[in-house]
Amino acid sequence: MSALLEVKDLSKSFSDKKVVEKLTLTVLEGEILGFLGPNGAGKSTTVKMIIDVEQRDDGEIYFNGEKTEDKMKVFKKALGVVPQDISIYDDLSAYDNVRFFCSLYGYKGQELKNRVKEALEFVGLWDRRKEIPSKFSGGMKRRLNIACSIAHSPKLLIMDEPTVGIDPQSRNHILETIKTLNKRGTTIVYVSHYMEEIDAICNRIVIMDHGIIVEDMEKERLKEKYRQQGFTSLEEIFLHLTGTDLRDQEA
């Protein structure tokens, strides 16, 4: 597999506090990468720098071998992000939400309609397309949040805790959706605290803490490596690498 996204020596400080320090990471085409870390580890800041929402202090980001700042529009067209906060208009119908966000990527006419239909069918909301999200359950809102991020068929999809606060049925539906998307060729970076989700869908796992990467390995190799040290589950490995101290997230 070739590198789709390469992050080299990425750094960010807020005031005097280093939040991300010389972080280097490669996302391979076609994989589902699990991006783990305790609260305040620097995951969100890293993701924000990658998607050009946060200014970086140092480092370079390459997409398909080209610097993102040189081809920002190309990069953004190929990028999909499922934000942790549900990012939809409560007063627009589900259809209009997906239609609007997809149209920002240059789609119009019949192609736009087809994409909106496909995305809503994909997340199981086509039958509810005329309803406004304020009437939706948490799981439905999360699925609509995903539909808005995938309608333009991104090559790289970054999902930031997309299953927070939803019931097991909706979570299962979302995880199945992610696997199907990946089979269709979308590379996925999956940020989550839920170890069982990471275990169920990811090929490779990156664990970050205190602004640096503390482990980056294929899932099975990682489990094998730590099994020999007596850690049998991903959660045990995670706690072993990041410690058991409570982390109170700073804004």
Partner: protein, 255 residues
């Protein structure tokens, strides 16, 4: 350019569906004109009535208040938590600012036309061939104040603070501009103070055009308003900060 069209089309729909914006810019000026016109009916003559006076001065005041609406529109995506999607989509900050600004200006201008038609018909305001020149002036004013509001809204996080900051100078400008009661003085220093208010320029330009036939002054003021608006539009684009666009605190607005 296509992205600007998409954004503008959606922003127009959002403004058009905004009951508060429409109500504030149509119903409020009409009610205020009716109320002040009625209360001060005895202070004016029969040819030039209090309704004529307030028809002309209340509308520019309400347009100036649209600055608060524009500031809110600048923060709308932050409150609705959709700002992030705009920032990683393949669109530019200039397109975001322009679509919001133009949608506000257009909707407020449409409201102005409706109000002006209403007061012309109901209060027999003597506007004939001057109608579109007055609309041009009011559109220039709407653009100017929306640009200032957008600049402030995009540069600050807390809407309540924004509203409080904007309210005070707006009310001062309205009093100095004679929006509530006609103000005139022979004192040079006080005269200078009155002229500091843009509402004084706008109101004077309308009266001079309608009653003295001075069209040049009205176009001059319109041009100044457009230039100020353009300056603030550029400032809003240059000073656009992703951080401020994403974050917004509006009490009671949580998903």
């Amino acid at each position: 350019m296509r992205e600007l069209g998409v954004l503008l089309s959606y922003d127009m729909k959002r403004r058009y569906k905004d009951g508060f914006l429409i109500g504030y810019n149509i119903i409020f000026p009409i009610l205020l004109t009716l109320l002040l016109g009625y209360l001060l009916a005895g202070s004016y003559g029969k040819e030039f009535t209090s309704y004529h006076y307030y028809s002309l001065v209340i509308l520019p005041f309400c347009i100036a208040m649209a600055m608060i609406t524009a500031a809110y529109v600048g923060k709308e995506e932050a409150y609705k938590k959709t700002a992030m999607r705009f920032l990683y989509a393949p669109i530019f900050k200039t397109q975001i600012v322009l679509s919001k600004l133009l949608s506000c200006t257009v909707i407020i201008s449409v409201c102005n036309i409706i109000v002006l038609l209403f007061v012309k018909l109901v209060f027999q305001l003597p506007i004939y061939g001057e109608f579109w020149a007055i609309i041009f002036l009011l559109t220039a004013e709407a653009y100017c104040f929306c640009a200032i509001g957008m600049f402030i809204g995009l540069g600050m996080k807390n809407f309540i603070v924004i509203k409080n900051i904007i309210n005070l100078p707006l009310c001062a400008a309205a009093i100095l501009g004679g929006a509530f009661y006609p103000i005139g003085t022979m004192n040079d220093k006080l005269e200078l103070l009155l002229k500091l208010s843009p509402l004084t320029w706008i109101n004077q330009s309308m009266f001079r055009y309608l009653y003295d036939g001075d069209r040049d002054y009205l176009y001059k003021i319109s041009l100044i308003l457009i230039l100020i608006g353009t300056g603030f539009t550029l400032l809003a684009i240059v000073r656009f900060r992703k951080e401020e666009f994403i974050h917004g605190d509006l009490p009671g607005y949580e998903k």
